[in-house]
């Protein structure tokens, strides 16, 4: 069985506890601890370990699907998580150390790692796959253009809807640098564009 750990805030804890029926309860292992010094909006942190089929079918109905970017960042900061290990999972490079050093000059890598963790959760819920990320340099100015985070399994319309939600949430949470420097890319959309299959409504 696959297990997934998520961290959620007090409000969401109450919501999720209400939502689970008694027969599901034994599938949940809970552990919580007080982290009052963190301050608002997360005054309590709870770790839930669910089997993924339960968390995604039930939790996605009661939690905002985009509720945990900052929580994911807090988790990295609080637990001194090895950011490099998270980046290594997704970085598309054969020269990891050099590439991450270069990346650190461009973006706060902790913020990027939190985005990757959070985005992977969203992708699982929506049926997409996070393939990895890489730094893109502008072909004319030879300067960093953006960090492309590549997803599979989404077409152009899904891409449009996803970035609207994701970027809005990132900005709401005050992580503007991340909103500006990370480009979410649904690679399957390019095939759709070449075929012209996304144009049906446009041409009608």
């Amino acid at each position: 069985m696959i297990y997934k750990t998520i961290l959620i805030s007090t409000d969401e804890t109450q919501k999720i506890e209400k939502a689970f029926s008694s027969e599901n309860r034994e599938s949940i292992l809970t552990k919580s601890s007080d982290v009052a010094e963190l301050g608002s909006p997360i005054d309590r942190e709870a770790t839930y370990i669910f089997s993924t089929h339960i968390i995604y079918s039930i939790a996605s109905m009661v939690l905002s699907p985009l509720a945990s970017l900052k929580i994911s960042l807090y988790r990295i900061l609080l637990n001194n998580t090895d950011v490099k290990e998270i980046l290594r999972r997704y970085a598309l490079t054969d020269y990891f150390e050099k590439a991450v050093e270069e990346l650190s000059d461009y973006i706060d890598v902790k913020m990027l790692a939190s985005l990757l963790l959070w985005l992977e959760d969203i992708c699982i819920r929506r049926g997409y796959k996070l393939k990895g990320f890489s730094l893109i340099r502008d072909v004319e100015y030879n300067e960093p253009l953006t960090i492309a985070v590549y997803l599979k399994g989404c077409g152009l319309n899904e891409w449009r809807a996803l970035v609207k939600d994701v970027k809005q949430k990132i900005k709401e949470e005050g992580l503007n640098e991340l909103a500006e420097k990370a480009t979410i890319v649904c690679i399957d959309a390019f095939e759709e564009i070449s075929r012209g299959s996304s144009l049906t409504s446009f041409l009608a």
Binding site: K98, G132, S134, T146, A182, S194, L199
Partner: protein, 147 residues
């Protein structure tokens, strides 16, 4: 003596240009060859880039060079994707790059930094793509009008 004439009214609105291209492509699609499609895609991207740059200049932001009126694609890209236009900006950038810098058609583009591996994207410059670019340009133009 050198002097820079500041601009406080927009003169680089691409609305008419886009309408002209849309009308032309609707009427004369069969006359468009690959050279024309490539030039149109490039023109669309740069006209939107100019419009954005002029808008921020008028608002008081300054760029580089003697008259501080030169801005970079990366700034354009960053500001637009922060508004949830990742799909528009990435697609326009990829096809504009293919149109201006790549010779084969179809081809593969692997945008990346030398220390990184990119994802190989299959890119074909054709009439359908042009229509898609026009559609996305309208999406970007709407955002720029409200910017």
């Amino acid at each position: 003596m050198y002097r820079c004439i500041r601009r406080d009214q927009p003169r680089l609105k691409p609305h008419e240009l886009l309408s002209l291209i849309e009308n032309y492509t609707a009427k004369y699609s069969s006359t468009l060859n690959e050279v024309m499609i490539r030039r149109i895609i490039s023109m669309i991207y740069l006209s939107l880039f100019n419009y954005w740059a002029e808008k921020i200049y008028i608002r008081g932001r300054r760029g580089e060079d003697f008259c501080q009126d030169m801005f970079r694609y990366s700034q354009f890209h960053r500001e637009m994707i922060s508004h949830g236009l990742d799909h528009v900006m990435f697609i326009l950038y990829v096809y504009r790059t293919a149109s201006d810098h790549y010779i084969l058609n179809p081809t593969y583009i692997e945008l990346k930094d030398p220390n990184w591996k990119g994802i190989r994207i299959s890119v074909e410059i054709n009439f359908n793509v042009l229509l898609e670019i026009l559609k996305l340009s309208r999406e970007l133009l709407k955002a720029l009008d409200e910017y």
